[in-house]
Symmetry: D2
């Protein structure tokens, strides 16, 4: 491990550093004349890195050396995570689609059948909804879970649904093929610890302004807990402009594919916050290397109970799936489709209509 020491380090600081080295079994070697750089010889462990980072005199870990973390790419191949029929990573690309919130049984079944028929292998849909205001629709809760259970059985589609409270993990586990952790909870460590003990995949969304390292360390909570089926989801970061809801960070997608072996998908709907840009962002995400998509789709966006402005129609979903098919072909990757999905070619899908739309 290589450490940079603060210029303000006192003798007491240096004593504390030496003491920690002795405790953890590292041999310290000062590298430069001013004592700003030290090399620690030893076996290394992720936990040790954190101990050194917590010392006041350590400005930065320049190289973690052997103290590798579980998420790190290192020499590892892609980890492929299966969620029902969906598979992410290792050359497999899948699409999860569905409503923002589970509303009633009929509508949810209708959407599930429709998105599956168009190529989605999993359905997203919230029973528990994190909403900015206490007065907004908070989801239908346990009743919503029952609806999802029905959908799962009747339609044969994997269910991905959000869990907000560690006390709901068990109930959600009974109906979900994968837990979703939302952006607001990326660093809800009580929840992460609980999910680390589960044996079901977790779709972990990046926080509004989480750095990539914070994102990976949130995943590390799950991995360290024993759950190695983690799918990372880039869903846009907070920016300074308001023409989109968030800024889809395609550079993070490309970087994450290098930095970790975990699969990475994108959520173009929450990034855009408006239906007309979802297809373009879905394409951009896949082109940057994403292993899948999480898309809001509604059969009647005008009647959606929440986030209707960003839900795309079934027709638009067809365009997204056609794009995914083409982009996968370009890279020799597989677009995973539901067992009986139609194999319609691209030809009959309209090109994105980017030209004439009025923008307020």
């Amino acid at each position: 491990m290589l450490l940079q020491i603060r210029s303000s380090a006192t003798q007491a600081d240096r004593d504390a550093l030496h003491q920690l080295c002795r405790e953890l079994g590292y041999e310290l070697r000062t590298l430069d004349a001013a004592g700003r750089l030290v090399e620690l010889g030893g076996e290394g462990a992720p936990a040790h890195r954190s101990r050194f980072e917590d010392l006041r005199c350590v400005q930065r870990v320049l190289d973690a050396g052997e103290a590798g973390e579980l998420h790190a790419r290192g020499d590892r191949p892609d980890t492929q995570v299966a969620v029902g029929d969906a598979r992410f990573g290792g050359g497999a690309v899948s699409i999860l689609a569905g409503p923002c919130a589970v509303e009633d049984r009929e509508r949810t079944l209708e959407i599930a059948r429709a998105v599956r028929a168009r190529g989605a292998t999993g359905m997203r849909g919230g029973a528990f909804k994190p909403r900015t205001s206490p007065y907004s629709f908070q989801g239908s809760g346990r009743a919503g879970l029952d609806i999802l259970a029905t959908v799962r059985e009747d339609v044969g589609i994997a269910i991905v649904t959000e869990v907000l409270d560690p006390r709901d993990v068990e109930a959600v586990s009974r109906v979900a093929d994968a837990f979703q952790v939302g952006s607001r909870n990326m660093q809800n460590f009580a929840l992460l610890r609980e999910l680390g003990r589960q044996r079901k995949p977790v779709l972990l969304k990046r926080g509004f302004s989480a750095t990539v390292r914070e994102f990976l360390l949130a995943a590390e909570f799950l991995l360290d807990g024993g759950n190695d089926r983690v799918v990372l989801c880039e869903r846009g970061i907070r920016g300074f402009d308001d023409f989109t809801r968030n800024v889809l960070d395609v550079g993070a997608v490309a970087h994450l594919k290098r930095a970790t072996h975990l699969p990475v998908i994108v959520d173009p709907s929450h990034a855009a916050g408006r239906a007309d840009l979802v297809r373009a962002l879905a394409r951009a995400g896949l082109a940057a290397g994403a292993d899948g998509l999480l898309v809001e789709v509604h059969t009647r966006p005008d009647e959606a109970h929440s986030d209707g402005a960003q839900a795309i129609s079934l027709k638009e979903l067809e365009g997204v799936v056609a794009d995914a098919r083409a982009l996968c072909a370009l890279d020799g990757r597989e677009l995973v489709l539901p067992p009986s999905a139609p194999t319609n070619g691209r030809a009959d899908v309209p090109a994105p209509d980017t030209d004439k739309e009025a923008v307020a």
Copy 2:
């Protein structure tokens, strides 16, 4: 209520709007020729505002009219919140000081006595620590709570400590005079709902990149739950530079004092992330109108188990308290001190040393 309608609104969208008006008892009046602006006549309620905002065709609520929320200033005077001897708002300013994390009993007692002797009416200190990495020190947990209980009794200082998990609320409640909700949990709604049911004050920290409206609506979860003793804490927002850990948003402090009746304090330690700037930021926060401070102080920063780089020494705390005294005097506000605190005048406190310090 005044609403702006999206230019893309369809007839189905408008039908849904009319339907909702009928359901909630509002009379809709279209204002302009193009139908982009509508006025809703009716009694108003916060919950209704959210319902309208959730409609796909509503671009923005231009004026919430009677649909006021519980946090809103309106005509209300300052709400003063007492936490043990500390009081915030309504002309009262108090200082909470202490270590990042509770370590051992002796050290914690030593710090509590020391900060109380210098003017702090409350002690901060985490038993449960939210840490970015699973390998970092996560706090001493329930053992830490026991230590805090001892400190509270022996030293006679109010205890403010963080709660991360709704399942820990009861245990924390037994020793804390106020619950702290950290930045990472500002939108942990399961936790907020649980704390809304408590009858102890909550110190709610602003999320890393939370807008002021999101911050106020997080507080609204507590207020709507029945807990009206909420203290807002500005602790710096995420920025693009790295010379400080965060950007202390003094404009938010000034704005919040106008927008809400709730007290607002600042945490200069997490904003700065480095001890040498804490005093300057504490002053700036109070000068902008803050009702108090939350400061990390340690008797031996070099030995702190976490965040040692931002903890100030007791001597520096004396400077912070002296500044607070002077700034309160300037505004005719009261700096609340512990019953037996010394009343040393400003004269013997050194001016901030801003000139010569080396900066890496």
Copy 3:
């Protein structure tokens, strides 16, 4: 035009508003009971919108109505801008490639020939370099322009080069097929005014943290000056993380294609700031709808005088061009190639190597 009036508006404010309406020939109609919304009936003009926005009492222009600006999409088809053989917009996609800075004649000729042979119709390369530090290499200046003139003639490739100073416009004009305005100068209005008077295309890069509206209004300075050959370039916005130099805003690309008729290209090199992500970002930009690319390429990145870490090799350029070809085919767009460029198919180009690369 629809205006929202501040709640703090005084009678004097309202008098000023009425006075301006009389002066510009607008009929004012107050829409709501509280007088917060007004509709202005009249012919409309972009200049009028600005006059109203400058009034203290105007909070926001809700709808600009007839006051449309020159950049606005409205009902207009794509404007196609030609730069030598390169064409941008209206279904045409072109690639500009070259070194960050013009170094010596031989190296520059070598790069120009090499990028042209691989499909670039234009060469980028700075003679005048905007550098953060006064001590960094500032470009070779007028000598660099001479080199570019040689390249243009000998290689038959369009030249795009940056101009920093209004006093250099004439000299740059003699060798450039298009002027480049860099991010730092997006709101250098003296320069924009001067370029608005020119009859050569301008490649305008988005500022580090410019909103889309600010970007479009910077273009409006050029259009208003009489130069309607403007190419917008998204090059990444400033973010809070450091794994890339900037955040490529693909949502802005998709939005701009709707909001304006001007062509939009992306610069993946300055967005990434590291060569290994350039290809992924180039793909993402084109997939989001960009009309072209501006890429840093160097035959010897290790010897580049500036920004060597983000320059890609010729081999990597081949991958970028192959991707562009495939993505254009997907959308029925044309990848414009230099007259004699080889038409090598995609088959012999390696897939992006995203798997194993070590990331510091």
Copy 4:
């Protein structure tokens, strides 16, 4: 100098590094086993630092050692810069106040007299205005300069006015006591080079999203050009929220006072973008250590030609000056007043009215 080398460095990269060391006379010593850290022994020079930073293989300069820059604090005391009667730094605090734009002669004279009578030693006011839209009022140009010349002579107040175009430097120089460089031009290097050759002070505003290092290096262009009378102005950085126009970065003020010997002032008006928060932000800036204020003041804000919403009234200016007086007293600093300014005590100035104001 200590350098961190990228893990991706090739042999060619290392050869280039050794070659540059030979050229500049540095002795290179590799510090660690993996060759990631090197120490360069030699005399050091700012220009050399930049040369090494430009090498592809250099990830970061960990310690600049002797390669100090002109702005760096080092062991230097505060540089005090005088602008007419105003003085900034070295314990002196001054206030510059005035309208956003110079309008007509009478109004400008009226404002100048009024702000001087209340304690401002200098007047700000733009003849050349940088405006986001080409259709907005661009200032009165050379006619505005004539008005400023009259004001300067008749009122006896220092004039600070913006210059946008290197070709206007001479004309502006005839009437200005200090040049202002606006945020949009912080990295307009053609302008900075021209001003580096002048012998009048420059008030340099921080760019919308400039890092502190970029800000200091922009100042370095002036210093390196020979003009050592530079006043830095923090005016708020771009954030993600819209309740203020920008985020006043008080941490930058505190940091800059440590990192450089140059004076630092704040512009609370552009940070707030709304008059009601200007006083609070002015206080926060001074409390954080600022050496002065730049405030927009207008005798009739409702009639202002631009930015009227952020201009404060004369009565509000009295509050700002009273605060400045009190905060200077607190720190033993001098509030510089115009020769004949009234010395009214604080008692008769109302406390900031933060309680009841309606916020939209």
